[in-house]
Amino acid sequence: MISRVLPKIISACFAVAAAILLCVFAPFGTAQTAGSPGAHAPQLDYEFFKTRVEPIFLKSRSEDHARCYVCHQVMRHGGGPLSLEMLPAGASFWTEEQSRHNFEVVSKLVVPGDPSLSLFLRMPLAPEAGGLADTHQGGRQFASEDDPDWQNMKAWVLGQKAGGSSAP
């Protein structure tokens, strides 16, 4: 428990964003899942997350983008929904245990198999591309869905495995 109030603020923003997300994307989400949500939901793959998604959080992508980790490390994020583990002193990547915790944290912001309803994908995506990045304190991290990093994140949400196959 890092903070009792700041998370409320962040959570309030998160809730607003989630409400927007549901209003904006629900019709598409329903069409894409073609059935009850979760009925055929893929499993999120930890190894894919660790090797293809987690590095994005630490990547300096351009001068117009601060690294995700700068704001989302737990000591900066006040216990908000996407609070990442602090890197160990002197380390350039998380420990196995920390990565598993990050996986759990980020998985809560995902509707497996449904990118349109996954806040993890929509929050950093530019509004011009259908995202919510104008309400994201880190701004427009991805200008479009064509961004290779965003594509990796999407692939994880869709259940792609580290070995290359997707599930189910």
């Binding site: 428990m1 927007i20 700068v70 309400t135 994201h136 304190q137 880190g138 701004g139």
Partner: protein, 345 residues
């Protein structure tokens, strides 16, 4: 009389030409510098990840830059852009201010990282030695800070602590506090003509308006709520009122509102509503636009133009005070944040 007027008007371009507006682009790694004479970005400071705020030495030779990525205060030579020093801080810095005499830099620390809760502090740096000479701990993290004109007191707001803490900068200790039932966001101190504190105007995270604290009694004496119209916009990227400032001529108070997606102007000292100016919306293809998320506020030195950073639109709005309308929208970097005016001597 005409000679006097001539001097005044002749001085206006000079004033405009000798000031700069610094905008931290917190979602990126740059600081945009706007020339208020042209309302164009004339410089970009690069390589500072997630900059929080830029403040200045009184002679304009130094920039003091707080950022989110490392727990230091960058001291930069303004002309050369070279670092003079990186002053270690007690934790993650949010806001900073410099006393009018230039002797002290106060930095509010959002999280010292010393405990599970986000414990805050006010770091005090001696501007001559560029050493941190004191760190005054507070219960919870601090967000914004403002000083009395005489430099004797600093007032800082805490969102998690739901409080304003006023620090005595001579004794270097906490002087008094005001407790609220909601988080405190940006605030500004109104000073008396002798430079002592008169009132604090503080934005609260669940109030579409601001609180008024009397400096003499240490109590909230008024809570101003913005008009219901305009309305219909969400809270944007942070709290619902997130930017407040007093014009340099001390005649007006400007406070933004995210539900209104507008900035409201109040007269000083009587706090009568003068009007509002609507701010940029964020276009969303195929959908209704969202509010632009107005953030911090600053002014041209002659008080004729108000500048509002709008975090969702990557822009700064320049507002003509007399006409009460946006005259220019200046594109800046990602998620523009705190915004400050440098007046060059």
């Amino acid at each position: 009389m005409w000679i006097l007027l001539g001097i005044v008007f002749a001085a206006v371009p000079l004033v405009a030409a000798t000031s700069r507006i610094y905008v931290t682009n917190r979602g990126g790694t740059t600081i945009s510098v706007i020339d208020p004479a042209t309302n164009k970005v004339v410089e970009e400071i690069k390589g500072i990840e997630s900059p929080e705020v830029v403040r200045f030495s009184p002679d304009g030779s130094r920039l003091y830059i707080a950022n989110r990525s490392v727990d230091v205060l960058y001291v930069m030579d303004r002309k050369s852009g070279k670092y003079i020093k990186k002053v270690p801080l007690s934790g993650w810095a949010n806001d900073a201010m410099v006393t009018n005499d230039g002797k002290l830099i106060v930095v509010c620390i959002r999280n010292t990282g010393t405990e599970a809760l986000d414990v805050g502090a006010l770091d005090i740096i001696d501007a001559k030695s560029l050493e941190k000479i004191k760190s005054i701990p507070v219960r919870r993290g601090l967000h914004d800070v403002s000083l009395t004109a005489d430099g004797k007191f600093a007032a800082a707001g805490s969102p998690p602590g739901q409080s304003i803490t006023v620090f005595d900068l001579q004794k270097m200790e906490i002087a008094w506090e005001v407790q609220y039932d909601q988080g405190v966001l940006p605030l500004i101190v109104e000073s008396n003509p002798d430079g002592s504190g008169h009132r604090i105007f503080a934005q609260l995270n669940r109030t579409n308006g601001f609180s008024v604290v009397d400096f003499a009694t240490h109590k909230e004496v008024q809570r101003i709520v913005n008009p219901d119209e305009p309305k219909g916009f969400g809270p944007g990227c942070e709290g619902i009122s997130h930017g407040i400032g007093i014009a340099p001529d001390h005649k007006t108070l400007w406070t933004n509102s995210r539900p209104a997606n507008a900035v409201f102007a109040y007269s000083l000292p009587d706090l009568k509503l003068l009007g509002h100016v609507s701010l940029p919306e964020t276009p969303v293809p195929g959908k209704a636009p969202r509010g632009g998320g107005p953030a911090w506020i600053t002014f041209a030195p002659d008080s004729r133009t108000v500048y509002v950073s709008t975090c969702g639109t990557k822009s700064v709005s320049a507002i003509d005070v007399e006409a009460m309308k946006e005259i220019t929208r200046i594109p800046v970097g990602e998620m523009p944040d705190r915004i400050s005016t440098l007046v060059l001597p």
